[in-house]
Every structure is written in C-alpha cells, then in structure tokens.
C-alpha cells in the first residue's frame, strides 16, 4: 500500500511542478497566464501524434526517447517520499540512481549527435560538459548523506533516525539547499538554460530535442518532469527529516520548493552568459564539497 502511494505521490509531484512554475511566472509577470494543467494538455496532444524522422538518423535516434523516459521512470521508482518506501530500494541505490540518470543523458546526447545537425552537436557538447561538471556535486551530496546517516539507500538515509538534533538539522538543510541548486541545472532552468527560448544557438537541452516530434517529444517532456521531481524530492526529504517526516509534508514541500524558486528566479533574473555556466556549476560542486566537510566535522562531534 505504502509503495503504491509512494509511486503515485512521485507522479503527482512530477506533474505539479511545471504547473506551479508556470503559474508563478504568470502571476509575477502580471499576466493571466496559462492554466495550471496546460503542460499536461500539450503533452497529451504530443502523445497522440505520430513522429517524423529525419532521413539522416539511425535506430539510435528512435530508441533514445524510450531509454530517456525508461531511465527517468526507474530513477523515480527509487525515490522515497518521506516515511513511505519506494518500489525499488537496495543498498547503494543512490549510486544506481545517479547513473541511471547519466544513462538517460548519454542516450539523448548520442541521439542529438546522430542527427548530424550542427546545432544539435553544439547542444550535445554543452550538455556533456555540464553533465560532467554537475556529477561531482551530485556524488558528494550523496556521500554527505551516506556519511552522516551511515546508509547508502535513499529510504534508509532519510528514515534512519528522527532525533531532531542540531547536527542533523544543519547538514540536512545544507543538503536541501544543494539539491535545489542541482535541480536548476539538471532540469535546464534559468540561469543555466532557458526552456522557453526559440534561439537555437543559445539552447542546451532544447536544441538536442529539435528533431524530435510527436510522441517522442512527449516522452522527453515526461522524463524531464520525473527527473525534476526526483531532485526536488531529495531536497524536500532532507528538509522533512529535520522537522516533520511525513509524506503529507514532503510532497507539498517538494512541489513548492522547486515550483516557487524556479518561477521566481525565471521572472526576475536573466540567464547566465553561456561561458559563465561552467563557473556556476563548478561553484555548486565546491559548495557540495564544503557541505561534505561540515558534515564530516559534525560527525566527528566537533563542537562549532
């Protein structure tokens, strides 16, 4: 029962976050804006459409969206929602989670190169670079959790103890902050990427999907939502572990944390110059290293 509820809640989070982002943006822009469920309607249309394939592409291009979506689904199934247990959970699933998503990235990068378009090659190069740079942040973030809690599975890490002590609170809040930042990068949001732009030369994620249409495009969208929901849920779990470790607290938190922060940043900030993205992402990794260090010191029970 808990497992089913857990899965349903992850899906709920995944489909709510884009809606909250869009509503936040519309409200801050003083516009009527699109309805909350517009992204669902769009994807519904896409899923009912056939796909058009460029003649220069191979089978790789056609299976990539399936791998991309499949990997995102598997990753989402590993994600616990606070006190509930996920469908897939085993020792070391944090590593499996990270590399399942890396597999998704590789699939879409190869598919982009497969089209032979100069735009998509550029997009793939950027995605590969940023993927490589964000990976240390992700792994150090997981390492901090593992070190502090002594487990290597998401479900165990967050559920292990609810002692509400000061050390745990500090580390968990820092980790939550780290994962909110990672969410921005992984889901291709301002200031790193701009999902709304029509300018191919400035795109990162979107340019890799330029040749996709119909059902393939729909699958890529859904996978993107799931990915965002996973990272957002890690941050929400970390916060929930410090005060109120229940699914009814973690789910709204995951939705609002990402929905509002992305919506606000996208309304009030310009995106980075592309060359500065590297610095931005490396800074996140540095932040992760710092948090790891703080976690280590606290673990050693040094009073600070």
């Amino acid at each position: 029962m808990g497992i089913v509820l857990n899965t349903l809640l992850i899906i709920l989070t995944a489909i709510s976050i884009p809606g909250v982002i869009n509503r936040t943006r519309a409200t801050l822009a003083g516009r009527k804006g699109m309805p909350f469920s517009q992204h669902l309607l769009n994807v519904n249309v896409l899923l009912r459409k056939g796909a058009v394939y460029s003649t220069t592409t191979t089978a790789l291009f056609r299976i990539a969206p399936a791998i991309y979506l499949g990997a995102a689904i598997v990753a989402a199934l590993m994600m616990p929602v606070a006190d509930l247990y996920p469908l897939i959970s085993f020792k070391g699933d944090v590593i499996c989670f990270a590399y399942t998503l890396a597999l998704a990235r590789v699939a879409i990068i190869l598919a982009a190169m497969d089209t032979g378009s100069s735009f998509e090659g550029m997009g793939a190069a950027r995605e590969a670079l940023y993927g490589a740079l964000i990976e240390p942040a992700l792994m150090i973030g997981f390492a901090t959790l593992a070190l502090f809690c002594g487990y290597t599975s998401f479900a165990d890490i967050f559920a292990h103890e609810q002692s509400f002590d000061m050390h745990l609170t500090i580390v968990m809040l820092l980790v939550a902050f780290l994962f909110v930042k990672i969410t921005f990068v992984e889901s291709g949001r301002v200031p790193v990427d701009d999902p709304r732009t029509h300018l191919e030369l400035t795109m990162i994620h979107e340019v890799m999907c330029l040749d996709y249409s119909g059902i393939d495009m729909g699958m890529i969208h859904i996978a993107g939502w799931l990915k965002t929901a996973c990272f957002s849920m890690i941050a929400a779990n970390a916060v929930a572990a410090t005060c109120c470790f229940h699914w009814w607290f973690a789910v709204p938190l995951a939705i609002l944390l990402t929905g509002l922060s992305v919506g606000i940043v996208e309304s009030t900030q310009a995106r980075n110059k592309l060359a500065n993205n590297t610095t931005f992402i490396v800074t996140i990794s540095a932040l992760a290293a710092l948090i790891f260090f703080i976690g280590y010191l606290l673990k050693l029970n040094i009073n600070i």
Binding site: V190, P191, R196, L201, S267, Q269, A270, R271, K273
Partner: protein
C-alpha cells in the same frame, strides 16, 4: 574636385547642374575625403543614360550640414576596370557590389566582390543563392554552423554562416537577398503617386513612417512647398515610430536573455504607443498617415490630447524599466563587454544610426542635416555612447525613447492644429531633376533618391535603408564572441532584411 553643394531643405537639383568628373579625380577625392570622419556616402549608384552608364554620388558632410552631389560616366564600349574604393574604404562595399551586380562593371582589386541581393535584372544569371561564394577557413578544430535562411520564430529569411572554434566565432558571413522584391523598379513602373506612396510604406514594415516620409520629402522637393505644420506632424509620427521600435527592441533583448519582467513591461508599453498611432491614423504602424503634399489624418485637439496623455504615461513607466535594467546585475553581466564594435571599425564600415552612436560615432541626420521640425522647434542633441557593446546599443535606445517622448511632448505642447492640405497625387514634378529624401529613421539614416525624366515622371528611384551599412557591423560584433551570444548581438542591431534586399 567639383561638387554640387546643397542641403537637406533645399529644392531638387537639376541634372544639368550636377558636375561630371573623371573617375581618376573622383577616386582620388573620395580616397581623401572618406578617411575623414565628417564625410560618408549617402548613396552611390549607376543608371543608364542613353548609351552611357552614369554614376551618381551623394556624399554627406556632417560638419557643415552639406549634401554634396557629383557624377561620372562610362561609355558603352569602355571596359576598363575602375580601381575599387572598397579596397581603401570598406564603407563603399554595398554600392560597388550593387553596381557590379547590375551592370557588370568591374572594380579592380575589389576585396569582397560578392553578389549583394540577386536582383532579377542582374547581369550574371548564373550567380544564384545556391552558389553564393561563402568565405571558408580550413582547420582541424574549426567547424561551420549554418543558420537560416529559414529561421525559427517569425523573422525574415537570411543565411548566416559561422566559422567557429568550439563555442567561439572566428568569422560570420551574412548572405542576404532572399527578400528581394524589386521595389526600386516598381517605383518607376507606375506613375500613380498613391501607389508609389504605398510602396514606400512597405519597403520595411518596421519603418513604414520613416520610408514613406523619405519618399514624400523627395517628391515634395520636386514639386510644391508644404505647410511647415505638416512637417511638425510628420516629426511627431517619426518620433512615435522611434519610441515604439526602441521599446520593442528593449523588450526583445530582455526576452533573449530570459529576463521576464523587462519583456512583459516593454511589450505592454509598446502596445500603448502603437495603439496611439492607430488611434491617430487607423494603422498601428502608421501606414496611411504620410501622404504627399498633405494628409488625410490631420491632428485634432482631441488627438493631440490623447497622444500627450499616452506618451507622458509611457515615458514615466519606461523610465522605471530603464532604472530596473540599469541596476540589474544579471542583465548587465550579459550585455556589457559583449559584441564590441570600436569606433574606428564602425566608421570604417560606414555604420549609421543608433548602432554608430553606440560606438561613439555621432552619425545623426537630425543634427547633422536637420529637416522638418529638427533644427527649428527641436534643437536635437544626439545620444552618443562610447563602448560599442550590446549594452551601449541598448543604452542608446533607453535614452532615445525618453528623448523622443520629450520631443513629442514639446512639439505638441505649443502646436495649434491647422493642417488642411489634402494629399495631392497629381502634382507635376520638376523634369530632369534629382531630389533626395534624407532623414533619420529609428534605425538610422534613410536616403531615397528620385531622378525624373523629361515628362516629369520618376525614371530612377534608389532606396537606402541603414541596414545596408550596418549588417557588416553585426558580423564584426560577433567575432571572437561566443556563438550563443549571437542572438543578443543580432537583436541589439535589429537590422532589416527586406530594407536591405528591397
């Protein structure tokens, strides 16, 4: 060397008064003059007169408010290559390329002898879009990125070929001509003045008022003197167009860096301005407003009040957007030090208008060759920035919108509506004369030239949009920039495809 010297308010020039010189003297004189910042070419074109090919040059002297006109000719059987001026002064390139393309005139040691716009009556029918001679660089680590001619979004066609080293642009070549409609020939194929006015309005959709005003100025110089109040109303229309386009560009620049607040604020403000134009003349872009020798849409007391109210409101709200942009670090980080075009470069390529002013070159027809209300009711002080980056081009816009609003308000504050003249489409034009319409559109200097035949009909019509000069500025701006910064550079110039292609 001999020039016919005139200014921007004088009547048309009789063709027989224009001196004819030898090319050698012409070449030596221009070689000298174009090195000086105060001179630049407004137009340089050729046309067939009997068996001869006659070249006309309209040169502007910014310091003494003079317009200098001269000419030279080639006999039909002359096939001597003329030494190219482009080799010395790149600003001559569009003119020499056009002449070479249309009349097969060879320019000796011309460094960039490429087709300009593939007109239907070009001499070399084998030269087509498909075999445009793109510049290439060989290299292991280099790659070419081709953008267009069909673009994402609702913009006109044009091919951009980048040569990149990784993310960095080494070279950009812009191939245009896809929008060529033969506008210049259309002007001469009809004697219907109304139709010609409508053609002028559609030379470039974003400069409908500027181009139609340039056309009626050229026509009025050949016919009747017009009421000065009509000039004041046209100046108001020009400044409204400037406001609308500069605000739209501010918004578009914000969109391109994903800055939503600036985008939505500017979109709303632009709508107010173009709706004001619509309330005045029935069209948001000012089509139908400018007519030769008169107007169908004179200002009335109510309209003046409406314009004053709207412009005052937009001026106040735009000022807030301006403060917001100037104090936003994420915006400044994108725009500053991006797409630099130094002053020497912009002068070298003959840049005009706001792009030139952003690089420190004070090219502004409103102050250098005043017309209409400029120099009379308005003493115009050009907005000049020095850095020549995207931020300067935006800063020129930010200041010019406020300046345009002030100009409109000061013109209308003391204006007593009194224009009663209706458009005159039948007026006789002075025969065998050359006249020009020269003004500062929102993008820069627009120059129309009309030459009449013995019957007083327009036999040659030449149009120059500022984009003709400034496209090369864009190519220079993106050199050594990241390719992902091309869109904001492109938008900061916001050049016209159909204004170039005609």
């Amino acid at each position: 060397m001999k020039y016919y010297i005139t200014d921007n308010c004088a009547k048309a020039v009789e063709l027989k008064d224009i001196p004819e010189v030898e090319y050698a003297a012409f070449y030596e004189d221009l070689k000298e003059r174009l090195s000086d910042e105060r001179y630049h070419i407004a137009h340089y074109f050729a046309r067939t007169e009997d068996t001869r090919l006659k070249f006309y040059l309209v040169l502007l002297d910014d310091e003494e408010q003079k317009v200098m006109i001269t000419s030279f000719a080639m006999e039909y059987y002359d096939d001597i290559a003329l030494p190219s001026l482009t080799a010395l002064h790149p600003q001559v390139h569009p003119f020499e390329r056009e002449i070479a393309e249309l009349y097969n005139v060879e320019f000796d040691s011309m460094p960039w002898n490429k087709p300009l716009r593939f007109p239907f009556n070009r001499r070399n029918r084998n030269s087509t879009m498909d075999n445009y001679p793109f510049y290439t660089i060989e290299g292991e680590s280099l790659h070419e990125v081709n953008v267009g001619p069909i673009h994402a979004g609702i913009i006109e066609p044009g091919a951009f070929r980048f040569i990149c080293n990784g993310e960095n642009v080494l070279h950009l070549e812009i191939a245009l001509g896809y929008q060529h409609r033969g506008v210049e020939n259309e002007f001469t194929s009809t004697d219907n003045r109304l139709r010609q006015t409508l053609l002028a309005e559609s030379i470039a959709g974003d400069s409908a008022v500027s181009h139609s005003t340039a056309f009626v100025n050229a026509v009025e110089k050949l016919s009747a003197q017009v009421d000065h109040n009509l000039d004041i109303e046209r100046t108001v229309a020009l400044e409204l167009e400037r406001m609308a386009m500069h605000i739209a560009d501010t918004g578009a620049l914000c969109t391109d860096v994903a800055y939503q607040l600036g985008q939505v604020a500017c979109e709303a403000l632009r709508t107010v301005i173009i709706n004001t134009t619509q309330a005045w003349c029935g069209n948001r872009f000012g089509k139908g407003l400018i007519r030769p020798c008169g107007t169908n849409k004179p200002l009335t007391k109510e309209k003046i009040e409406m314009i004053i109210n709207n412009v005052t409101d937009v001026r106040r709200r735009y000022n807030e957007v301006k403060d917001d942009i100037e104090s936003s670090p994420t915006i400044l980080a994108r725009f500053e030090q991006c797409g630099l075009v130094p002053k020497a470069e912009i002068l070298n390529i003959g840049g005009v208008g706001m792009a030139a002013r952003a690089s420190g070159a004070k090219r502004d027809i409103r102050s250098s060759h005043p017309y209409a209300a400029y120099g009379k009711e308005i003493s115009h002080e050009s907005v000049v920035k020095r850095q020549g980056d995207v931020m300067s081009r935006l800063a020129v816009r930010l200041d010019e919108v406020l300046q345009a609003a002030d100009n409109i308000l000061s013109l209308l504050a003391s204006y007593k509506p009194s224009v009663t003249a209706r458009p005159d489409y039948e007026c006789k034009l002075q025969p065998n004369a050359l006249s020009f319409g020269l003004l500062e559109g929102w993008r820069g200097e627009i120059c129309h030239i009309a030459i009449t035949n013995e019957e007083g009909n327009i036999s040659t019509y030449k149009i120059k949009d500022p984009s003709v000069h400034n496209w090369l500025g864009l190519a220079i701006a993106v050199r050594s920039e990241g390719i992902s910064d091309f869109p904001i550079n492109n938008k900061s110039f916001n050049l016209s495809y159909c204004g170039h292609d005609l």
